[in-house]
C-alpha cells in the first residue's frame, strides 16, 4: 500500500511533536517474554490534548513509560519501533541523554500523588529540584520560582505552603504540586497517566481544568492516559483506544464518540452507565456487556486480539492481524470488518 493511500496524511503537518511508530515493548516474566505493547502508533501534535483510553492491561501505561525510558529494568525493554520527539529517537537514546529530556522537555505525572512525592522534603524544594538540575538555577532562585509555580497551580498562600511536607496536603493539592513540578521547566509534552483516578470527582474536575489552562497558556501538549471515556470526551482533541497492546482506533474526539467504528470501542461506550438515563421509576435497560475477558499476554492470538470477544468476527480475524487503516480523514481503525473506508 502506498503511503499516499492514507487520506489523513495530507492534513497532518510534516512532523508531529511526538511520533510513536510500531513500538514493541517486551517484558520478561516467569512464563517467558511477553509483549504488552505490540506495535503501537501514536502521533501527537504540539499543543494538543491527546487521550489514550483502554482498560487495565491494554498497554497504555507501558507505552507512556517507554517514551521516557522508564520501563522496569532489567526485565523490560523496547524491542523495536521508534519514538520520535523533536529531532531525536527516544527509543535509541542512552540513559544520560534521556535524563536531559525527562522532567525538562517531557514531564510526567502519575496516578498516585502521595507515592510520587518525597515525604521528607518540603514541596517547594521538590518543585525547585528540576530547575536546579535542568536550568542550573541556584537553590534560592529555584525556590522563588517554585513558589511562583505553586501559586500558578492554585496553591493558596504558596510562600508558606512551600515549606509544608506532602502529608499536610489533600490528594487534589498533591496532584497540583505534581503538576507544578512537571511544568517547572516548561516542557513541550506532559504525560499524565491517570492523573485524577485517585481523586474525588469534584476535585478531578478542578485538576483537569488546571491542565486545560496550562495547555492554553504554555502551549504544552498533553498525553492524557485514562480508563475514563468521559474525561477524554470532555478534554481531548484526539483519542486513541488501546486493546491488547495495540491502538485499535484513532480519531478526533467527535468522530470517536459520534461514530465509533471498532467493535471494542462500540462495546465500551455502550457499557458505560450515563447520567440521566432513568425514566419514570423504571429500571433502566441492562448495560451492554462485552463478553469474555482481556487477552492473555502469554498466549497471544495470531489474528486480531479482540477476535474472541467480538460479535462481528469473521474467519480472517482469527488468522491475520488487521492493519490500522484509515476510514475517514483522521480516523483510523484496526478491524477486518469495520475498518473499511466509507466512500
Amino acid at each position: 500500500m502506498a503511503v499516499h493511500a492514507d487520506p489523513s496524511a495530507s492534513e497532518l503537518p510534516v512532523s508531529p511533536l511526538l511520533d510513536v511508530s510500531r513500538l514493541v515493548v517486551e517484558i520478561d516474566t516467569l512464563q517467558g517474554p511477553v509483549r504488552p505493547v505490540d506495535g503501537v502508533d501514536l502521533r501527537i501534535e504540539a499543543g494538543e490534548i491527546f487521550g489514550v483510553v483502554g482498560e487495565s492491561g491494554c498497554g497504555k501505561s507501558l507505552t507512556a513509560l517507554s517514551i521516557l525510558g522508564l520501563l522496569p529494568r532489567p526485565q523490560g525493554r523496547i524491542r523495536s519501533g521508534s519514538i520520535r520527539f523533536e529531532d531525536q529517537d527516544l527509543a535509541r537514546l542512552d540513559e544520560r541523554d534521556l535524563r536531559r529530556i525527562r522532567g525538562n522537555r517531557i514531564a510526567m505525572i502519575f496516578q498516585e500523588p502521595m507515592t510520587s512525592l518525597n515525604p521528607v522534603l518540603g514541596i517547594g524544594d521538590q518543585v525547585a529540584e528540576a530547575l536546579v538540575i535542568h536550568r542550573g538555577l541556584s537553590r534560592r532562585d529555584a525556590l522563588a520560582q517554585a513558589i511562583h509555580l505553586l501559586e500558578r497551580v492554585g496553591i493558596a498562600d504558596a510562600r508558606h505552603r512551600a515549606h509544608d511536607f506532602p502529608h499536610r496536603l489533600s490528594g487534589g493539592m498533591r496532584q497540583r504540586v505534581m503538576i507544578a513540578m512537571a511544568m517547572a521547566c516548561r516542557p513541550k509534552l506532559l504525560i499524565a497517566d491517570e492523573p485524577t483516578t485517585a481523586l474525588d470527582v469534584t476535585i478531578q474536575a478542578q485538576v483537569l481544568d488546571l491542565m486545560d489552562d496550562l495547555k492554553a497558556e504554555d502551549g504544552v501538549a498533553v498525553l492524557l492516559i485514562t480508563h475514563n471515556f468521559g474525561i477524554v470526551a470532555e478534554r481531548a482533541a484526539r483519542v486513541a483506544v488501546m486493546y491488547g497492546g495495540v491502538v485499535v482506533e484513532e480519531a478526533s474526539t467527535e468522530q470517536l464518540f459520534e461514530q465509533p467504528r471498532h467493535p471494542y470501542t462500540h462495546g465500551l461506550l455502550a457499557a458505560v452507565p450515563q447520567l440521566g438515563r432513568r425514566r419514570d421509576g423504571m429500571r433502566p435497560h441492562p448495560l451492554s456487556e462485552i463478553p469474555g475477558m482481556v487477552p492473555n499476554l502469554a498466549r497471544p492470538a495470531p489474528g486480531c486480539a479482540f477476535a474472541d470477544r467480538c460479535a462481528l468476527r469473521v474467519e480472517a480475524c482469527l488468522r491475520e492481524r488487521p492493519p490500522l487503516a484509515a476510514v475517514a480523514p483522521g480516523h483510523r481503525v484496526r478491524c477486518h470488518v469495520t475498518g473499511v473506508s466509507a466512500q
Partner: protein, 327 residues
C-alpha cells in the same frame, strides 16, 4: 416516601457515630464525627443508592446498618426489629438475612481457602449440617453468578477481578439474604467487567426479591442501580429522593456540584460551573452546614446545621435555601 407502602424492610433514624482519636498515651484528644443524624427507609425489593466522595461516611453507614460497628445513637430497624437492641443470639440469625458485598475483590477473599470453601463457610456458620446439601447450594449459587461449579476447588488468585467479585456475590447470596449492602462493588473493575457485574446484580436482585443499599461514589452507576438516592457529605445526608428527580433537579448545592463534575460522553460538553473551592484545608470545625466552606450560596444562617426539610413527599434536603418550603 414510603408512607403509602407497607413497612419498609430497612428503616434508619438519627444514626450517628464518632470515632475517637487518642494520643500516644491513650488519652482521648477528640471525637471525629463520621456519621451524623443519618436517616432513610428502603422499601422491600428496592435499592437505595448511598453516594458521596471519600470520607463522607457512606461506608461507615453501611457497616452501622449491619451492626458490624456499633452506633453511638440512632435507630436501625430491619423488618421491624431493632437491630441495635438485638441480643447476640438474635443478631446471629439476623445476620443471615443481611449480607455485605465488598469493594476490593482482591483483599476480601481469604487466599488460603478454595472458593467453594469460602462460600460454604457461611452455610456452616449458620448451621447447614448436611454436607451434600452444602455442596449442592454452593454449586447452584456459583452457577447463578456465572462461575463454573467445577472451579469450586480453585483458589481466589486463579480468578480475575470480575470473577472474584462474582465469587463475593455468590458468598453473600448463598445464605439467601433479604438485604444486601454493597460497598463500592464495581469501583475496582474495568468498564466492560463493571457492566457485567452490574447486570448480574440487577438480575439477582429481581430474581430473589432482594432489598439493597448500594454504596458508591460514581453518580452514573448509582443512578443505574437505585430507585432512590441519598447524597452524603461529611457524615450527613444532604439530599435524598427518587433517583430521577435528584438527578434531573438537584436541590442541594453539593449535589449540583457533584453532578456538574461528572464528565459526560458528549465530546467537548460545555464547561460548567465548578465548585468554587477545593476541600483542602479541612475546615471541619465550627459546626453549621457541612458544605458551608465550599458553598457559593452560603448565608450567615449557614453557621447553624440546616434541618432536614421534606420539600415534597419523599424529597428531603438539608439546606437553608430550601427551608420553609415544606410542602
Amino acid at each position: 416516601m414510603t408512607t403509602a407502602l407497607p413497612l419498609p424492610l430497612l428503616s434508619v433514624r438519627g444514626l450517628s457515630k464518632s470515632f475517637v482519636h487518642r494520643n500516644w498515651c491513650g488519652r482521648v484528644i477528640r471525637h471525629i464525627p463520621a456519621v451524623a443524624d443519618v436517616g432513610f427507609d428502603v422499601a422491600r425489593g428496592r435499592t437505595l443508592g448511598l453516594v458521596g466522595e471519600s470520607g463522607c461516611g457512606k461506608s461507615t453507614t453501611g457497616r452501622l446498618v449491619l451492626r458490624l460497628i456499633e452506633a453511638d445513637a440512632g435507630d436501625v430497624r430491619f423488618d421491624g426489629v431493632d437491630i441495635r437492641a438485638a441480643a447476640p443470639a438474635r443478631m446471629r440469625t439476623l445476620r443471615r438475612d443481611m449480607q455485605l458485598i465488598f469493594q476490593d475483590p482482591y483483599s476480601s477473599l481469604n487466599p488460603r481457602l478454595t472458593i467453594g470453601g469460602l462460600i460454604e463457610e457461611g452455610l456452616i456458620v449458620h448451621g447447614v449440617r448436611n454436607r451434600g446439601e452444602r455442596e449442592d447450594r454452593v454449586a447452584a449459587v456459583l452457577r447463578r453468578v456465572g462461575i463454573r461449579p467445577e472451579y469450586m476447588g480453585r483458589y481466589p488468585n486463579e480468578f480475575s477481578g470480575g470473577q472474584r467479585q462474582r465469587i463475593g456475590i455468590a458468598r453473600a447470596l448463598v445464605l439467601r439474604p433479604r438485604l444486601i449492602v454493597a460497598d463500592e462493588p464495581v469501583s475496582a473493575l474495568d468498564v466492560s467487567v463493571q457492566a457485567q457485574v452490574l447486570n448480574l446484580l440487577a438480575e439477582i436482585q429481581e430474581e430473589f426479591g432482594l432489598t439493597a443499599v448500594f454504596i458508591a461514589h460514581d453518580m452514573a452507576v448509582v443512578e443505574h442501580v437505585s430507585e432512590e438516592i441519598a447524597v452524603m457529605y461529611r457524615g450527613r445526608i444532604v439530599e435524598r429522593g427518587r433517583t430521577e428527580e435528584v438527578i434531573a433537579d438537584p436541590l442541594h448545592p453539593y449535589t449540583r456540584a457533584l453532578l456538574d463534575s461528572v464528565p459526560s460522553l458528549r465530546p467537548r460538553a460545555p464547561r460548567r460551573a465548578r465548585p468554587a473551592r477545593d476541600d483542602t484545608d479541612g475546615e471541619r470545625g465550627g459546626g453549621g452546614c457541612p458544605f458551608r466552606a465550599r458553598c457559593d450560596l452560603r448565608m450567615p444562617i449557614c453557621r447553624m446545621v440546616p434541618p432536614n426539610t421534606e420539600v415534597r413527599p419523599g424529597r428531603v434536603v438539608a439546606c437553608h435555601l430550601h427551608q420553609g418550603q415544606a410542602g
